[in-house]
Amino acid sequence: MTLTQHDIDQEIAAGRAAYEKRLADGGPVEHQPRRDYAPYRSSVLRHPKQPPVTIDVSQDPELVELSSPAFGERDITEIDNDLTRQHHGEPIGERITVSGRLLDRDGRPVRGQLVEIWQANSAGRYAHQREQHDAPLDPNFTGVGRTLTDDDGRYHFTTVQPGPYPWRQHVNAWRPAHIHFSLFGTAFTQRLVTQMYFPSDPLFPYDPIIQSVTDDAARQRLVATYDHSLSVPEFSMGYHWDIVLDGPQATWIEEGR
């Protein structure tokens, strides 16, 4: 049977109703998606059925997971955070700057840590062998960037606006435009891989991946804000996106590293 957008819409609505019921029954606000979110079909065989075993980090300062790998100037090059300068020519598309701060749950900046991004080009095509979408590749765009956060926890990228792309989970399935982010904190428990979206994308209601975050406020935290002060005159449009890492860390460590 062909899976239609209508089928997925109904499952998304059912997922939201179930969450609202959990809330009404006194359940907690869910900041993270559930790993078993059927509207995103790839999750069905790839989520554990046993509950995770909880480790209370306050009981043991020696846990390996309370430290995190270090990254430094050797791990990036000067132009890694400018995705428009990695080839001889200029990539096609609307230039954008994306900037924000990397914070922990106490609102403290995460300093000197690695931020990695990857994205489709302006036509919605990844520079990836397995990508089958029939949109043009851009010889001047790889779509991969890296940077280290500064003393304020700030990161900064220059890139082009990624295009939405079809992904064949169901008939007429389209991903809203997004940039993938990979982040490290001061503890391995804070590791995060996520996606940043753009304001007012009409595809949001149809996309089971963003809708896997069923809490409205949590889902909004995945959407960047247009920030005119980040726009560069005659050059690029600016977007602001702050990231807050979940997960506990060592309480006895001084602020920063």
């Binding site: 790839r46 480790i55 790998p69 791990d75 896997s212 949590a218 996106w241």
Partner: protein, 201 residues
């Protein structure tokens, strides 16, 4: 809102996780990601295995990150896991001297992965282990687990995590010894023999 007001702690809420997706292959893996041990180090161990789904099918698009201490139980502080070449913009790889403790490996087309790292040392009351973070298409939030190496039965029995688990589940966290210094560790995301996954609080 995606501008966080840090003067209002109630507005500092976590950014939700998302799947790594299928198209990270040109972005996240890097040359030498699996060669964590300094070249020729006598305490090098090889760990390898498969990542399997609920039907026992291997995942060709899983990404594993390993993080472990050195043989003395010291956590690495050196950077340089993914040294870049400023001239070409490519990867130089590790320098083969410093131990960064961290590695990243993509499963191959057969769903198999391997890494060479230093035999981890014990820390505190814990038996020696490597911390593992699993990412994959279909996995909306990454999964943590641990690779304990077999051998020191006393240390394993006293480990605060292992001692809390029933035997069958506990065994999913202990690698199987193969040839000297080689250990097999499969990660079963779902179903029979499901690996124990961890949540830190």
């Amino acid at each position: 809102m995606t501008k966080i007001d840090t003067s209002r702690p109630e507005s500092v809420l976590p950014t939700p996780s998302h799947t790594v997706g299928p198209f990270y292959g040109h972005a996240l893996p890097f040359r030498g990601g699996e060669d964590i041990a300094p070249a020729g180090h006598p305490d090098t161990v090889t760990v390898h295995g498969y990542v399997l789904d609920g039907e026992g099918k291997p995942l060709p698009d899983a990404l594993i990150e390993l993080w472990g201490p050195d043989p003395d139980g010291k956590v690495a502080t050196a950077d340089g896991s993914m040294r870049r070449d400023p001239a070409s913009g490519g990867f130089l790889g590790r320098n083969g001297v410093e131990f960064t403790g961290w590695g990243r490996i993509q499963t191959d087309a057969n769903g198999h992965w391997y890494a060479r790292t230093l035999r981890p040392g014990a820390r505190g009351r814990n038996a020696p282990y490597l911390s593992v973070c699993v990412f994959a298409r279909g996995l909306l939030v990454h999964l943590y687990t641990r690779i304990y190496l077999p051998g020191d039965t006393e240390a394993l029995a006293a480990d605060p995590l292992l001692s809390r688990l029933e035997e069958e589940r506990r065994d999913t966290l202990i690698a199987a010894a193969e040839d000297s210094g080689t250990y097999r560790f499969d990660i079963r995301l779902q179903g029979e023999g499901e690996t124990v996954f961890l949540e830190f609080r």
